[in-house]
């Protein structure tokens, strides 16, 4: 009984319940929603934004915020694809390692400013995003690498599917789920992961009980950058082009998804499962407006309302007397 009560109190349960209701409502409005093709497409749309959300989740648990990951993702994606084209390299593993490393370096740069200079994460990441995007577009190039110039190995990788009952399910889903499981293990089963929660709850206490806070900050932002870089290249291989202006505005969506998933912006709170649900909720709403015959121009209004309502609910959940 207590186990059930505990389960009901978890924010993931609430998100899951809302998610099911929303899916039923959409299914009633347009039964085509339940077709396997549509559902698989929906899952496919979760992959890139989901990996980014996992990176933001770690940052948010540590009490910070990251708005630079779209810039890092785009830089990692574009530079890797250009390098592959320049060397005529056809492969998959090495480019993804390269993109991840580019993201990692950018993320560590964030950590330097945030830890060493004690600067506010929002300001630092706003600045670093502007720096990275400016350098990429100003020095590297602004032209889109289209499908005819994309490395075929990447395209082949990104479009690999598995046949499920006559419909094609993108294999990228399993990469996303694999990363999610690893993140879950990291956050809940390792001391470094506990350190992230501790640091986000109260940095000073975490330091006093012996967590290496410097290592935690570097780990969190390095990991966030690395995941962003990986997600960036994955995105390019899934849409078959590399656009150096891509991912504009992703920060809003991803942060919204993570908050929807029950993470607290004040740190110390959040879960991988909740984030996966939050990401699914957001992509569900964004992708189902058309299926519900709502004009696409309403997308921004709907997503904004979802963010406001979800954050209001979280604020209500976390309410404490101010004094």
């Amino acid at each position: 009984m207590t186990a059930l009560a505990k389960l009901l109190r978890r924010s993931e349960t609430a998100v899951l319940a809302i998610l099911i209701v929303v899916m039923i409502v959409i299914g009633v409005i347009n039964p085509a929603f339940w077709q396997a093709d549509n559902l698989f497409n929906l899952l496919r749309a979760n992959v890139v934004i989901g990996i980014m959300a996992l990176s933001v989740l770690t940052v948010m648990i540590s009490g910070g915020i990251d708005v630079s990951f779209p810039a890092f993702a785009v830089a990692a994606m574009y530079l890797t694809v250009i390098a592959m084209n320049a060397w005529g390299y056809q492969g998959v593993v090495l480019p993804f390692i390269g993109a991840t490393l580019i993201g990692l370096v950018c993320g560590l740069a964030n950590a330097v400013f945030i830890h060493t200079f004690r600067m506010i994460p929002l300001i630092v990441t706003l600045g670093s995003a502007s720096v990275v995007r400016g350098l990429l577009l100003g020095l590297v190039g602004t032209s889109i690498i289209n499908i005819d110039r994309m490395p075929p190995s990447l395209i082949a990788f990104g479009s690999s599917t598995v046949d499920v009952g006559g419909s094609k399910l993108s294999l990228m889903i399993f990469i996303y789920l694999g990363i999610a499981v690893l993140m879950w293990l990291f956050l809940t089963r390792t001391m470094a992961g506990r350190g992230v929660f501790a640091y986000g709850d109260d940095a000073e206490s975490a330091k006093r009980v012996g967590f290496n806070t410097r290592r935690t900050v570097y780990l969190v932002y390095g990991l966030a950058g690395a995941l962003a870089g990986f997600a960036g290249l994955l995105h390019a291989s899934m849409i078959w082009l590399a656009n150096p202006r891509d991912f504009v505005g992703y920060e809003l969506d991803v942060i919204a998804a993570v908050v929807l998933g029950g993470a607290s912006i004040f740190g110390g709170r959040g879960s991988v499962f909740g984030t996966i649900l939050g990401v699914f909720m957001l992509t569900l709403i964004k992708n189902s407006l058309i299926i519900m015959r709502v004009d696409n121009t309403w997308q921004g209004v709907v997503v904004g309302c979802v963010i406001v309502i979800a954050t209001a609910l979280t604020a209500w959940r976390d309410r404490k007397a101010l004094v």
Binding site: F113, G138, A315
Partner: protein
Amino acid sequence: MNKLADFRRFINRDNNIVQLLVITAVIFLLMSALEPHKFLRYYNFESISFIFPELGIVAIAMMLAMLTGGIDLSVIGIANLAGILAGVFFTRLYPAGPEAGAAAELMRVAAGVVLALGVGLLAGTLNGLLIAKGRITPILATLGTGQIFTGFCMVLTGGPAIVGFPAWWGFIGNGKILGIAVPLILFLVVAVLIAVMLTKTPFGLNLFLIGTNPRAAIFAGLRTERMVIYSYMLSGTLAALAGIVLSGRTNAAKSDYGTSYLLQAVLISVLGGTNPAGGKGTVLGVSIAVIALMLLASGFQMMRFSNHLIDFIWGGFLLLVMVINVLRNRGK
């Protein structure tokens, strides 16, 4: 919150103004030396006086939100919504009559201004209510409402820009009074009003106190909720004013105009000595910062830097100045 408290120590207001003036002078001399023929022309400064006010007003709006430890990420959404609603009003609801006289035209523009500012006030009120009553973190609340406002812009326009503003509306963004750009005059009026309000009225003092220590402010009997709501209302109205100037200057309004202004507004208010954790910030600092950055941008434009590299310079400048602040304060 500890990090924020650390950060608070690092900003020293009076030194900051001096430092800003030095930075501005350095930028001015550097640009004059690099591009003496283009940079030092009257035309250059005149064009800056038309372009910087909208950014300056948005930066002051951002500073107001930061004073209480918040942030307003919806300013650009509000600015565009105000401009677009005015555009809808002029083109669809109340088009100019064929024989409308100057007085009628003036009335029409005045009604548009009232409408635009009213929208800003309403949008700001919504932000304030969500933040003060709903207890939503300012970042998330304004992120969401900004998305909603931009979303409404999309719904109203369907994507393309709205054009066809009346001539008098264009005067707000392009006109001159006694040889001085109207936007500049508006900026000066706003700057003086807000500066007086912050330094000479109880409301301003309240904002600083709330930003310095919200808990102490409650114990001291301040009506913090109401003050926070007022500050976001003011910030929303200023954002709408910036939207009027922007749509007047370009004679168009679009849902994604000025998106780069958001970063720049945060950058300028932080450079101007505003503490994002609350409790510190001056209109003077913000004004000097916006001018410094405008000189920097126009100089680099003359050296044929691409706009993207200028973005890089803005971001790098933000990080650099903050590092300098930290290092300087560490020495003490």
